[in-house]
């Protein structure tokens, strides 16, 4: 009994740390949605492509890990820019749902490009934090998970300051609330779209750099996996709510790790989707979203 309790706590700790990653993907989706009122299903592949681009300096020139980090971030920003150009910029006046199709197309395109380039072989990704867990009382803390949690906290604080305290953040909130007013006051919507893409892609690249370490080996399928996790998080958290995305990300992490430990690896995603399903049925507006009007 006591052992079970310890297990639950241990897996909750793991889940919270890992959930910080889900929260960050969810925040990325929320920022996209806030500024553009559209979904970017190519967000996962953007992150994945960033991580894979980060491998180039590592494998070619045995570059140090900070170079890999910078390449991940820069790579994701470049790919994000391509996604914005190809899937959004010229479709803005078109049908609302068009970007869903263009970004699904982009998701497949990026994923399959990486499959072809890497011959679908998994690539090893070094873990700078090593394998040794920290012992805190009866609990074990994986250093790479801890790094995700800490970086998540840092990003959330930085984003909070950016959104609440800067002219850029005010412009972002103005567009989210009423794009016509924002334009009237001098905000360029197309410029804000590009900046939002750059911001979320950089955030994705930086987080992806850490998450890739927890995988050990990379394979292109993580692209759609990340997109799906992001969508689950924003549905559970409530569309357009950053605090909602944070809570939902952490919750999803905890639920997944309990499932992983007590039910086995096959149940991890099943339980995550059950949670999604439960929210869609019982609370479609999510944890912190507003009820649909």
């Amino acid at each position: 009994m006591a052992e079970t309790l310890l297990d639950i706590i241990q897996q909750s700790i793991n889940g919270l740390m890992y959930g910080a990653f889900y929260a960050l993907i969810g925040i990325g989706f929320t920022l996209f949605f806030g500024v553009m009122k559209k979904f970017n299903l190519a967000y996962g592949p953007t992150i994945m492509a960033g991580i894979y681009l980060g491998l180039i300096p590592l494998y070619r020139w045995k570059a140090p890990m900070w170079v890999v980090f910078v390449t991940c971030v820069a790579g994701a920003v470049v790919v994000g820019f391509i996604v914005e150009l190809a899937c959004f910029r010229y479709l803005r006046k078109g049908h609302e749902l068009a970007p869903l199709m263009t970004t699904v197309g982009m998701l497949i395109l990026i994923q399959e490009t990486v499959v072809i380039v890497t011959h679908a072989a998994p690539y090893e990704y070094p873990n700078i934090f090593g394998d040794e867990s920290l012992e805190v009382g009866p609990f074990l803390i994986r250093p790479d998970y801890l790094a995700i949690l800490i970086s998540g906290l840092v990003f959330v604080v930085l984003l909070y300051l950016l959104v609440q305290r800067t002219a850029f953040g005010r412009a972002m909130r103005a567009i989210a609330e009423n794009p016509a007013v924002a334009q009237l006051l001098g905000v360029s919507v197309s410029r804000m779209n590009r900046l939002t893409f750059a911001l979320t892609s950089a955030l994705g690249g930086a987080t992806g750099y850490l998450v890739a370490m927890t995988f050990g080996a990379l394979q292109p399928g993580i692209a759609s996996w990340m997109t799906i996790k992001g969508l689950v998080v924003i549905v559970i958290g409530g569309l357009g709510s950053i605090p909602g995305a944070i809570c939902a990300g952490l919750l999803l992490g905890v639920v997944e790790f309990q499932a992983l430990w007590f039910l086995g690896v096959g149940y991890r995603d099943i339980l995550a989707y059950l949670l999604l399903f439960a929210f869609l049925v019982l609370r479609p507006s999510g944890l912190m979203g507003r009820p649909a009007t």
Binding site: R170, A171, A180, V181, A182, Q183, L184, G186, V187, S188
Partner: protein
Amino acid sequence: MLEVRDLEIRYGSVVAVDGISLDVKEGEIVCLIGPNGVGKTTTLLSIAGLVRPASGKIKFFERHLVHLRPEKIVRLGIGLVPEGRWILGEMTVHENLLMGAYSRKADRATIAGDIERVCETFPILRQRSGQLAGTLSGGEQQMLAIARALMARPRLLLMDEPSLGLAPLIIEEIFRVIKELHARGTTILLVEQNAHQALQIAHRAYVMEVGRIILSGPAAELREHALLKKAYLGVRARQPS
């Protein structure tokens, strides 16, 4: 200052504005009056760049505006106080004012000084500074919408029905402010259904009727115009006995 020529605006196949022309000279208060739904708001929105006309010209100090985006037009010195206020309800009053100055490349101190200045015109905004704008009363929201437009230091201020839905005392206050802004050198193009009060403060006026301008001239003359008296001013023209 502002020159509108043969402006035609369509929503789909519906002609909302059917070839109107009007001028605003520097230092004037010009009002555009007429009943609901004749295209007054559409005209203002197209000057501000939010609605693209089908044909016609809009010139501001010799600069063509028709193909410019709204964020460019505000930088040229045209501010719009939209109908229904359009304040940013989820931001504080202070943030709304800061957003008003978004288009300017000014340092913090200058902007803080300008906020101070508009708060002198509207003291209530200072009291409400940290409050979410959506929680303000209708009159306060209107004052915020005007103050926010002033934060861009416009040379020409377009005002769309600033008195709509407000209590008489607050309407008085709004018209007093319009006169004060004008006295300080802002040129104003005012759209109003409240023709009586608008004609009191305007220099010139245009009267719109289903997409066209049917009358124009000095406000003092229009105040005496029989048609207007009957239709908008609520004064019956005297019947010859």
